[in-house]
Point group: C2
Chain length 299, copies 2
């Protein structure tokens, strides 16, 4: 018998993920506020769901892939939400990046209805979703993880069980702290070096070759010094993640002296209307402070 998978949220991430599930032979019922996205997937063999409640009632597994915490809460706990179609034997994974405390709230509410739940945020962005190479960070019970694993394997490459409910979101938050820090470190290095007269291409080359190396630098460093800030991963999404991180730090009582400044710099990037740039565009904020433009002299 083919497994029935409900999938809510058909953005740049959800749409290719559903395609992979269809391709792997799952029956998939989808919904999204954007009807064009639903139609596109129905043409590929998906079923159009009426609402989250009816999709949940139909599904063996149900996945949400939504922008932020309030969206997930609304789709799960709101009117005609997943909770109204909850049934014994239903498995649920929220693959959105949301606040860990929000994830736990949703999991607790569904668990009371007999639903087995996971938080399973991803990294790897649009390219990872399209290439089925996402990194998936999973919190919840090991047995639920084991049931979901065949589906995750269709969607991603590195799938890690991180611990109890909420742990997937915590690890995702940790990931986004480090990625943001790596960009800001490179930005401050490039701005200082440029104003002191060094070709930023030399800086990227030397730093990549040694202890300062980061994957961020490998992937985006050469683009940054050519002022190519096409996403990639839009800075407004990283800003959203940084808001989740600061909220989480507040929830757990953890001062984050450096991440908090990084958060403000991303806020400045938003204030300047640069939310559509790649997150490497945080360079422009540091440049503006110093009154200098980073650009390599190399061809």
């Amino acid at each position: 018998m083919r497994k029935k998978v409900g999938f809510i949220g058909l953005g740049i991430m959800g749409t290719p993920m559903v395609s992979h599930l269809l391709h792997a032979g799952y029956e998939v019922m989808v919904s999204d506020l954007n009807q064009a996205a639903v139609v596109a997937l129905v043409e590929k063999g998906a079923l159009a769901g009426e609402n989250p409640a009816s999709i949940a009632a139909w599904s063996d597994f149900i996945i949400t892939m939504l922008p932020d915490t309030p969206d997930v809460k609304k789709v799960v706990l709101g009117e005609k939400g997943i909770i109204e179609g909850a049934h014994e034997g239903l498995y649920y994974a929220d693959m959105s990046t949301i606040a860990p405390t929000g994830a736990i709230e949703v999991i607790d509410a569904l668990s009371e209805k007999g639903v087995k739940c996971l938080d399973a945020p991803v990294s790897g962005g649009q390219a990872g979703a399209e290439g089925a190479s996402l990194s998936i960070m999973v919190g919840g019970e090991q047995s639920v993880f084991d049931e979901f694993l065949p589906i995750f394997t269709v969607l991603g490459k590195t799938i890690t069980f991180c611990g109890a409910k909420g742990s997937g979101q915590i690890v995702k938050a940790c990931n986004q702290i480090q990625v943001a820090m790596n960009f800001v470190g490179l930005a401050e290095a490039l701005v200082l070096g440029t104003k002191a007269g060094v070709d930023p291409a030399v800086i990227v080359k030397v730093l990549r070759g040694g202890y300062a190396q980061t994957r961020v630098m490998d992937v985006r460093g050469p683009k940054m010094i050519r002022r190519d800030f096409t996403p990639g991963f839009k800075s407004r999404f990283h800003y959203k993640d940084l808001n989740i991180i600061m909220k989480t730090a507040l929830d757990y009582g953890v001062p984050l002296p450096v991440t908090s400044v990084v958060h403000e710099l991303f806020a400045a990037m938003m204030a300047k209307g640069n939310g559509e740039l790649d997150h490497s565009g945080i360079l422009t904020v540091i440049e503006d402070l110093a009154g200098v433009k980073v650009q390599t002299k190399e061809e």
Copy 2:
């Protein structure tokens, strides 16, 4: 004819560097305030120099490898300093990590005496010095770089010409910004994750496997989560480098909003008497703020 190399500064870096030069067939004359270090190298075939002036008078090439800017200024410009033994045809490289403006001051003074000068700080630490695998960042004139290259090749693996005088120090400063940032990012991630109940080994594993990866994390992450802060590179040296960075930012008029906070965190590490720990020990500062200890549950 064997080339005569003067070498001043026989600490954990200078001593193995001189050994490599002797092994490569150079005649080396050394000096250091620590006579035991001089004796140890004389036993290996080095000559004991009387003072920087006399060493310079004897040398074809002269190298300094000293703790900080004032030390270099004293050895070069002070009484019986290199400048008093300066002669046409002498090549000089300062391989210490010092302020770029200090490097330029020393280079300008020696250049007036006909000495051809480079700033050539290194990264790779004690292990890099011992393994002759240092990364060497060089500022100055290309022709002087070319003359010095055979010597650098004996001492290091990655040798990069960075541009005009002072550029080597600038790139080293950029390197130390990024390395410090990578450690602080990991520290804040580990502290947040630990206080939220996630095993830090999971955090290191997931972050290393994706876009958040840094070499710092590869090398020291597994040690940090076992509370192993044996150096490596002592935090007091990274603090010294951060002081150089902040001074350089002031000299060139570059606000560094995030590095400045990182600098303060290292100052806190010094205030607690932890300057002898590896720089990864910056974790302890973030832990103290949050009242939590990061330690993996894994064996």
